[in-house]
Amino acid sequence: MSEITFAIVGSGGDGAVAAGDILSMACARDGLHVIKTEAYGPQIRGGESSCTVRVSSEKIYAQADDVDALIVFNWADFGRFRSEISLSADAFVLHEAKDPAPPEIATDRVFGVPFNDLAREAGAPNGKNILALGILAELFGLPAEAIRAAIAKRFAKKAQAVVDSNLAAFDRGVMYCSGLARPSRRLEYVKTTPHLLMSGNEVCAVAAIDAGCRFFAGYPITPSSEVLHFLAEWLPRIGGSTLQTEDELAAIGAVVGGSFAGVKSMTATSGPGLSLMAEMLGLASIAEIPAVVYNVQRGGPSTGIPTKSEQSDLMHALYASHGDTPRVVLSCSDVEDTYQATVDSFNIAEEFQIPVITLTDQSIAQRRETIAAETLEHEVVERRIAHDLTGYKRYRLTEDGVSPMSIPGMSGGMYQTNGLEHDEQGRPSSMYVVHERMNEKRFLKLEAVAKKYRLFTRFGPQKAGIGILCWGSSAGVVREAIAKLNAEGIAAAAFVPRILMPLPAEEIEKFIASVDELLVVELSHSQQFYRYLRTQVDMPRNRTHVYARSGGRALRVGEVIEQVKRFALSEVTA
């Protein structure tokens, strides 16, 4: 596997992000694997921005820990990201020559480049980002032809002169390298078929459409709004509709209404919105109405850190709403997996008439990742409709708790649905016996889901000295850590439940039995995942370790390896 990670840092007008976009798309075209992330300073617009692109000849599952090549247009901007950008030992740094590197950075691989002057010379005064791409392409063996094509495409709607001057800037960058030292590594790869380049939010929106969603109601919130934007464009084209509601109470309300009326419906939100949806989740649960809530976690609590990732909405997703309120919680472990998770969410919601929360987080939802188009396929399940309506009972007690549903418009299927406890007909009841039986019915569905949806992944050897339990976006990082550890000869394995409620507890116990030491990894200060696991799984007291920390900084492969070595090796070798 050959891989290089690039970071470009600048201010609003510097085009750092645009350069990253072009680079990513070009690499995607030539079949390379890419993960692209962006970061911004506190200014709403025009402040510092940084764009990081990891390019690899083989499939990758997370951002890289370290940057191999850094472009800095302005060191002041870089300061903002200093704590987020870690440079690899042999990192190659190119900075604007007029802005000398601070002493703690300066090494023999740090070079001043007159980006502004060169771009102006090339006839593209705003093209220093493109020029930088030329340098990177030449130094690191990036697909130059694809990048040139991507540049041409990017400016295609502008005058030909703009295209030309930008291409000139790129070429000037390539040429400029003749005077530069060479980096220690270049990318080695074979061009293959193009990949798609998508973010988790975009994949979710496409998956929703594929799953049959035709009504979306939502209220904008970072980092989930792209789902609303995408569906507002596409649903009307296929006979569906979106509603931007006045708040999240209305969003989930409209979803419940749309679904009650027979149309697959969803909303997308983030923590604050999910908090507002608590009461309506309970209604969907007792009224047995399918509903999909895609929730993108960000730093919490409260408004917290809206632009960064964390895995701390877990407990709320599992338990929000008063009363005994069954719901299903699925998780997305990477951009590609978001497709399966979203379609599964609709399938489960529809088949079992239950609200499903699809948990992802900012790091997956907003990073762009290459994926193979053929992974965007998944079986679609439809709601069980009551066709024989003689003596129809909406909430008929059945073996798996699922009662076929009639849809408004169906003659003879009329019933009353109810947030009050109710009997099989939907009539309010405050009798204990009815309540107990209906609670049983509603929770039976979770058992049926557990049986059918055994969604989990396992990496590493079948028997291992250390086993990691993690979920969601941590999975990609852990997967790469496991690969490295295995390559080092360390028998580490990992188990990732993709379905969280109902929890595949038996499988987890089997996993625990197959490893010596156990390590739980998560980005939640209060150990939400670990605590949740304990509700159903016996975690061995003397061999369980928990590595739980706040979000706001991406989990590093190295961090996981360090923990593994600390808990496993130290005890093995000592």
């Binding site: 509601t245 409209a254 979803v255 419940v256 209404g257 649905t417």
Partner: protein
């Protein structure tokens, strides 16, 4: 169902309401209105919130949804948008609609959502045993206002007009026939129709409510121009009288009109987009 008679819209569930509650009248008016408009029960959805009045859907032969306190309108909106062929009627109390549900009332009206919204206005929280509602007159003593209600009441009709409702009327539950006529107009209206029905709570506002209100009733004058927002000013927020009738009515494009228009702009009669179209923005085709 054979024929459309008021009785045919009645379910076999017995109303939980107190003897004398105004909501019986509202229910009877609704049976009548549905029958006279020959509305198909199975094409009809009646959505409510929580409150005495919100029990109404259980008593109407239709698809019913007794939902959450204050949330009838978002649910009704979702049902209507997802399935525009349905006739969707939202019902509930004044607390449900003006207190906890006030924001949805504003936005459902603003969007001119194709809904009929019937409020059973008793100027009190009935189900929770008599606390002040936003419609309770200032100064009134209630369970939660020992020394008299400190807050000014709002008139739901005045609010509805300022929110952008395109049909606004007021009825009195004691006048079953008159209210049924208003309901028929409201249901037939294209867009957001709001009908405030004064529906006495005999238990928490006193047995005299029916008589007192009846004494205050009056109708709109001949020549009343219901198409002007300002016309209603004289007949809303009234102190000593209650004016019934259609206070306001205009024609505007409805939310469904807009949604259909958007679909047309988006795709028109062109072939639906392919998977390739959908993925185009993510595909490096250069």
């Amino acid at each position: 169902m054979n024929g459309y008679s008021p009785l045919s819209y009645k379910t076999d569930l017995k109303p939980v309401w107190c003897p004398g509650c105004g909501d019986f009248g509202v229910l009877n008016s609704l049976y009548r209105a549905l029958a006279e408009l020959k509305i198909e029960p199975h094409d009809t959805v009646v959505v409510s919130g929580i409150g005495c009045s919100s029990r109404l859907p259980g008593y109407v032969e239709a698809y019913g949804f007794n939902s959450l306190h204050g949330r009838a309108l978002p649910i009704a909106t979702g049902a209507k948008l997802a399935s525009p062929a349905l006739k969707v009627i939202a019902v509930g109390g004044d607390g449900d609609g003006v207190a906890i549900g006030g924001n949805h009332f504003l936005h459902a009206a603003r969007r001119n959502t194709d809904l009929t919204y019937i409020m059973m206005d008793n100027e009190i929280y009935g189900l929770t045993k008599g606390q002040a509602a936003p419609t309770t007159p200032i100064g009134d003593k209630t369970k939660s206002t020992t020394y008299g209600n400190p807050e000014a009441a709002v008139d739901p009709c005045a609010l509805a007009i300022s929110f952008g409702a395109t049909w606004v009327g007021r009825g009195f539950s004691g006048d079953v026939k008159g209210t049924a006529e208003l309901m028929k107009l409201a249901i037939a209206h294209k867009g957001f129709a709001f009908l405030d029905i004064i529906s006495p709570c005999v238990t928490w506002r006193g047995d005299d409510q029916h008589k007192e209100i009846r004494a205050k009733l009056r109708t709109l004058p001949a020549g009343y121009d219901k198409t002007k927002r300002t016309s209603a000013d004289a007949y809303t927020n009234e102190a000593d009288v209650v004016t019934t009738g259609v206070l306001f009515e205009v024609e505007h494009p409805t939310l469904i009109d807009e949604i259909l228009e958007i679909r047309w702009k988006a795709q028109g009669d062109k072939q639906p987009p392919t998977r390739k179209d959908l993925l185009k923005a993510f595909t490096p085709s250069f």
